[in-house]
Subunit: 248 residues, 2 copies
């Protein structure tokens, strides 16, 4: 989008909630399967040292890179050294002020948080479904990352645009605690939490529990409160800090 349109940005973020919830539910159909996250236990011939999870993520991103996914701001890669895009992707101009999108890449924090999240929303234990588990891990991770980066870029830019002098002053003071306070809208966060809880409830209202595992909607709310919202705001801070340097 060429101008930050807060209503449209909020609607996009809202639309991504359904995607995140459905990917979490898909992953929760398999047990934690902890061994897929352990290096040296992939049993993947030729790459025995990595975890199956890391291997799947790298294969997925190598494919995605060839198809041009990472030209888009909100799609930041978890891996470095990916192949070049084999497509020419022409994107409309954006309102973002940033020299290189990689200056706001929150994937390190996202991956760490995701690995803490898995035992919260998947049933404990091992069912041997390792291939399916990591396939759905990667989709869930990409959906969460898209939401966080979309917020980090576009929410931060729209907040800045609404109040540039205050943000300029705060960034210049170097007080990131103050910046975090400026960015935080507690009532909006509470609305988001209530909404994702309702959506998780609704999405599973007619589940046949003989064949489908249900996620407690409370857990989806916890994941938003403990990981998704805080990392989005850290991303917003990173965006605003680099923004000051990009402008000058």
């Amino acid at each position: 989008m060429e101008k930050p349109d807060l209503e449209l940005i909020a609607a996009r973020l809202e639309g991504l909630e359904e995607t995140i919830i459905s990917k979490l539910i898909d992953r929760a159909q398999f047990r934690v399967n902890n061994s897929v996250y352990l290096p040296g236990q992939s049993g993947f011939r030729g790459s025995e040292g990595a975890s199956l999870f890391d291997l799947r993520l790298r294969f997925q991103e190598e494919m995605d890179a060839r198809f041009g996914r990472f030209h888009v701001a909100e799609e930041r890669p978890f891996n470095a050294d990916l192949p070049e895009s084999q497509r020419t992707v022409t994107l409309p101009p954006t309102c973002l002020v940033i020299d290189t999108l990689e200056r706001v890449n929150m994937t390190g924090a996202i991956k760490k948080a995701y690995l803490q999240m898995v035992p919260r929303f998947c049933p404990a234990g091992d069912d041997g479904q390792y291939g399916s588990s990591v396939e759905h891990d990667v989709f869930a991770l990409q959906a969460i990352s898209r939401r966080i980066h979309f917020g980090a870029f576009y929410v931060a830019e729209s907040k800045y645009a609404a109040n540039p002098s205050s943000y300029d002053a705060c960034v210049a003071s170097g007080n990131t605690g103050e910046l975090m306070k400026m960015l935080t809208r507690k009532e909006v966060e509470n609305q988001i939490l209530a909404r994702v809880g309702e959506k998780a409830e609704r999405a599973q209202a007619h589940v046949n529990t003989r064949v489908r595992t249900r996620i407690d909607p409370k857990i989806v709310m916890d994941l938003y409160r403990d990981f998704i919202i805080p990392i989005t705001k850290q991303g917003e801070i990173r965006y605003l800090l680099q923004r000051a340097q990009s402008v000058h």
Copy 2:
């Protein structure tokens, strides 16, 4: 499953409905983008001759093959000459009677049907979102294919197990029209159609139409009636015909 359990099979097929509906809705967020299906228009450096859709499907299946997806009966590949699995996949014994799973591969018919389906459930026109379109095409195609093959294998085996002598006689007569009649349960098909219509309605009941395209539930019912159910039954026939040869 070691013994055909019709109730469990029906529940699995039912669970796959949500997946298909959500993948169709995801794809419908982009326009038809017809050029992605045309050979020679991919603009994909090094593979200019293929369509972007065919390229994405091949890349996806090459990755999936390395991770062992096609060891599972209901996951049949659309492409030949895929790389070997780099994982050793140990699966529980199944009730299926088949020498090699590829004897029931319906992907040719599925792909042809899918390409006819796209203009029915996606908004007309071109929005330039080619990479996302083919990404979601592949997910929708895989979900539909999983449902069709799961039915072709397990529904056919369970129907056979309930009435082996009649099926043996019908297969021996070579009358596939009669076999189709034996397999068809019109009242079950009508139940499925009503259920997928309701699910498509419910899944979109709270959609924010400013940012999300809605699919008419009637169209999902049509896709099931015109493509998904008929191809599943063709797959069941193929399974039963090969079954007679595998037993002897």
